[in-house]
């Protein structure tokens, strides 16, 4: 076997390895990426049933309800045009409060309630998650036209 041919095999083996790793990563990416939706886009029916996604908006004033003595909480996330009821049964983060921005991960159930498995508030209390800030701005401008991008994932601005 000449050294040139050997080098060729090396290059082919490396390319195959890189290609394999790349395609695996891409597959994992496609299956596990999470999209963000605000209440207006949920109301427009953009979310597929059973799809896990990020919900963002403001926690509506006076909407936080606890079942006394249990972890179950419900609250309403709103972008001031539409709102979505949320249910959660774990410990809420420190920065969670009514009238503040919130991002939650979870799914919609059959009744249109968002069942959250994670509620995030890693940002500080003055800071609004940028996607939530954008949603609120759109809602205020009243020009929220849902986009119809490939995969139904386009952000409207």
């Amino acid at each position: 076997m000449t050294s040139r041919r050997r080098r060729l095999y090396w290059v082919l083996a490396i390319l195959a390895g890189v290609g394999l790793a790349g395609s695996l990563a891409l597959r994992a990416f496609q299956q596990n990426v999470m999209f963000y939706f605000d209440p207006t886009r949920i109301a427009a029916g953009e979310v597929k049933t059973g799809q896990r996604f990020r919900l963002g908006g403001m926690v509506e004033q006076g909407s936080l309800k606890r079942t006394a003595g249990s972890l179950d909480v419900s609250f309403v996330v709103t972008d001031f045009r539409h709102s979505v009821p949320v249910h959660y049964d774990k410990v809420l983060p420190d920065l969670f409060r009514e009238g503040a921005g919130v991002v939650a991960h979870g799914r919609l159930d059959a009744n249109g309630t968002f069942v959250a498995d994670e509620v995030l508030a890693k940002h500080d209390e003055k800071y609004m998650p940028p996607e939530v800030a954008r949603s609120l701005k759109q809602a205020q401008a009243g020009s929220s036209a849902p986009g119809g991008a490939p995969g139904g994932a386009q952000e409207s601005r």
Binding site: S3, I14, G17, V18, A21, L24, A25, A28, F29, Q31, N32, V33, M34, F35, Y36, R54, R66, A68, G69, S70, L71, V73, D89, K90, V91, L92, D94, L95, K122, H123, D124, E125, Y127, P129, P130, E131, R134, A149, G151, A153, Q154, E155, R157
Partner: protein, 661 residues
């Protein structure tokens, strides 16, 4: 007054950085030998003025000078003295000053060892460092000046962000930056070698100790940050694939590849252009990390500011530095080719696989970190990428890497195969498999599919790393520091893999609402909630819970999780209580009053989680042993020019790859 002096000192440092860059790069190009003499002086002067600038700002913090805006925004007279000092890097402006100061420190370290380098080469290294420093200082002064006055002054400051009021987080930025910025030295060596178009491989030997030390500090800094996130943020885990974590992890992965490939270049003269490329990439990723974290593109506890000017400036700087280095690479690297060859089963080929797999792993992390930014920029939607992507994609290259490691350290350079080590490798594998499987199925049980694989690999890496040093001791040979360091680093990796394997497989976690007297079971442990008390600290008040933990009825520990409300910012912060142990951590955090006399609580049992940080620490120690050991033996950091080409201590790569699952 002092603050203005600090401001002038910073401006002088900028000018000296410009002088250092100019004389360091233009002097050798024009062959002006007298210009070279100015370079070390400019570099030292730059550091002195940077230290002065930082000193005056620290003085302003200590003296509670709230007429300085940065102090007023990030400190308070009630803040303990230690945190008033560390508040220097508590926000954006001061962090940049720290960055520049650390770079100045590295530059002075290069100056101190300049006599071991050819004068022209040394001047070019300092020249490149001067360019980097100039860019950062210009950025600091133009967009993020920490010395701006606040007129009128406020009576008291806004306080340091409560989550930053913590010992580990106070020392996390300086250590992390020492690592990040240390890659600037590797970068400067690589650029100097490319500018000179050197055909030899001495530059790799000169660059090697700097790279290893930077890598060790970076690993240590990441581990500290992870430890802090674990106990302070109370998120409960040690790694979240948060973009900011990834920003520091990518340079570490590429740096790990670099310290392995540089060993091949140093010892065998191979992989030259690849090593250069990795040195450029490691520093580029450090810069990119700074850009991601500091520009406000990312939302996290780390991104202090969202000033678009800053982002654009860093982006421009990034393009100039990386673009310039890559252009240099395209021009010069082809003439710096390697002559020698090697066989399929040889140390070189295993290190090639090591590099490929590490770079693939870094690319996977890069893709996941950048995808949300790219999608957002291209209007493809707001998306997020989390552990479901990172875990499998990262483990795909990393598991083979771990499996190849024991083979690689027993392969010979150039040729020869594994024949003489085959027996010992098989025996060590058999013993490891027996030990690990006993641990998995006998002690911890409830394995997930990757548990036995991770456990066997972790034990095998440790045992097989010990084979060679033990063999040397048996034959009454000395163990050179390079081999000792490599062994220690690989043992650290093994501990790290074991820690991750068991903490990911066997963690138990439960959120529950309890009234005083109520209890929850977690495996063998029983957590009983005894109630809450009011507490008051120096700058906060809050609630403290009492939780008694028992195991099979025997008392284990009493936990006191707290919920603090800081007066100045009014922010609430949960402080988890952790009973740590080498074999397991027990964790409790206090949630809210949920009514009817009950509180929400979170309990966790995490086996072997200490091994994750212990392993990372041991890995970094391995790197330090290699460099210090060589120095103590007189083999020198950079003195190889005067020495025989292959000193007895020359050995394969220190350090070890790895990662978080």
């Amino acid at each position: 007054m002092l603050v203005e002096l600090g401001h002038y000192a910073l401006i002088l440092a900028l000018l000296l950085a410009a002088a250092q860059a100019f004389f360091g790069l233009v002097g050798p190009a024009l062959g002006r030998e007298r210009w070279l003499a100015a370079v070390p002086s400019a570099a030292t002067g730059q550091f002195v003025f940077l230290a002065l600038a930082a000193g005056t700002l620290i003085h302003a913090f200590v003296e509670n000078d709230f007429s300085v805006r940065y102090v007023a925004e990030n400190s308070n007279s009630a803040l303990p003295l230690f945190y008033r000092v560390t508040a220097l890097w508590g926000a954006h402006e001061g962090s940049l000053l720290l960055w520049a100061l650390v770079l100045g420190g590295w530059t002075v370290a290069v100056v101190a060892r300049l006599r071991f380098l050819p004068p022209m080469f040394g001047a070019r290294v300092l020249g490149v460092l001067g360019v980097v420093s100039f860019g950062f200082l210009l950025f600091t002064l133009c967009t993020s000046d920490p010395f701006v006055r606040l007129i009128p002054a406020v009576p008291d400051g806004n306080d340091l962000n409560p989550v930053l009021q913590d010992f580990a987080l106070s020392i996390h930025p300086p250590i992390l930056y020492t690592g990040y910025v240390g890659f600037a030295v590797s970068f400067a060596f690589a650029c100097a070698a490319m500018i000179e178009g050197r055909r030899d491989q001495l530059w790799a030997r000169w660059m090697r100790p700097w790279t290893v030390i930077a890598w060790a500090f970076l690993g240590w800094g990441i581990a500290l940050g992870s430890w802090w996130a674990y106990y302070e943020l109370g998120w409960g885990g040690f790694w979240f694939w948060d973009p900011v974590e990834n920003a520091s992890f990518m340079p570490w992965l590429v740096g790990t590849a670099l310290i392995h490939s540089i060993a091949v270049t140093d010892k065998r003269g191979l992989f030259k252009s690849w090593t250069l490329l990795l040195a450029v990439a490691a520093f580029s990723l450090s810069l990119l990390g700074t850009f991601l974290v500091r520009s406000g593109v990312l939302v996290s506890v780390h991104s202090f500011a969202a000033d678009p000017r800053r982002g654009i400036f860093i982006l421009g700087f990034l393009i100039v530095m990386i673009g310039g280095a890559l252009a240099l690479y395209a021009w010069r690297a082809p003439r710096m080719v390697s002559a020698a060859g090697f066989e399929l089963i040889s140390r070189e080929s295993f290190l090639l696989f090591n590099n490929l797999l590490l770079v693939i792993a870094a690319a996977v992390v890069f893709g996941g970190t950048m995808a949300p930014l790219i999608a957002d920029t291209l209007h493809l939607g707001t998306l997020s990428v989390g552990p479901p992507y990172f875990n499998p994609s990262f483990l795909t290259p990393i598991v083979p890497l771990l499996a190849l490691l024991p083979l690689g350290i027993h392969a010979r350079w150039r040729r020869g195969g594994l024949s003489d080590a085959r027996g010992r490798l098989l025996v060590s594998f058999g013993v490891s498999a027996a030990l690990a499987l006993a641990l998995v199925f006998g002690v911890y049980m409830h394995p997930i599919p990757l548990t036995p694989i991770g456990a066997v690999l972790g034990v095998w890496i440790i045992l097989s790393s010990l084979l060679d040093p033990l063999d040397r001791l048996r034959r009454r040979l000395s163990v050179p520091p390079a081999i000792l360091g490599m062994t220690v680093a690989h043992i650290g990796l093994g501990l790290f893999v074991l820690g991750i394997t068991f903490v990911e497989s066997n963690t138990l976690e439960r959120d529950i609402a309890l009234k005083p007297g109520g209890a929850a079971e977690l495996g063998d442990y029983r957590f009983r909630f005894d109630g809450v008390d009011n507490i008051e600290g120096p700058n906060y008040e809050g609630l403290r819970g009492t939780i008694t933990v028992t195991r099979h009825g025997e008392p284990v520990t009493v936990l006191h999780p707290e919920k603090r409300r800081f007066w100045v910012q009014g922010s609430v912060q949960t402080t988890a209580a952790i009973a740590d142990g080498l074999h397991r951590d027990l964790l409790a955090s206090l949630g809210d009053d949920v009514g009817a006399g009950a509180f929400s609580l979170r309990f966790q049992y995490r086996p072997l989680i200490r091994f994750v940080w212990l392993g990372a620490l041991v890995m970094a120690i391995g790197g330090v042993i290699v460099v210090w050991g060589r120095r103590l033996r007189g083999a020198g950091w950079a003195s190889a020019a005067e020495r025989a080409p292959a000193s007895g201590a020359a050995a394969p790569a220190p350090g070890a790859p790895g990662g978080a699952a």
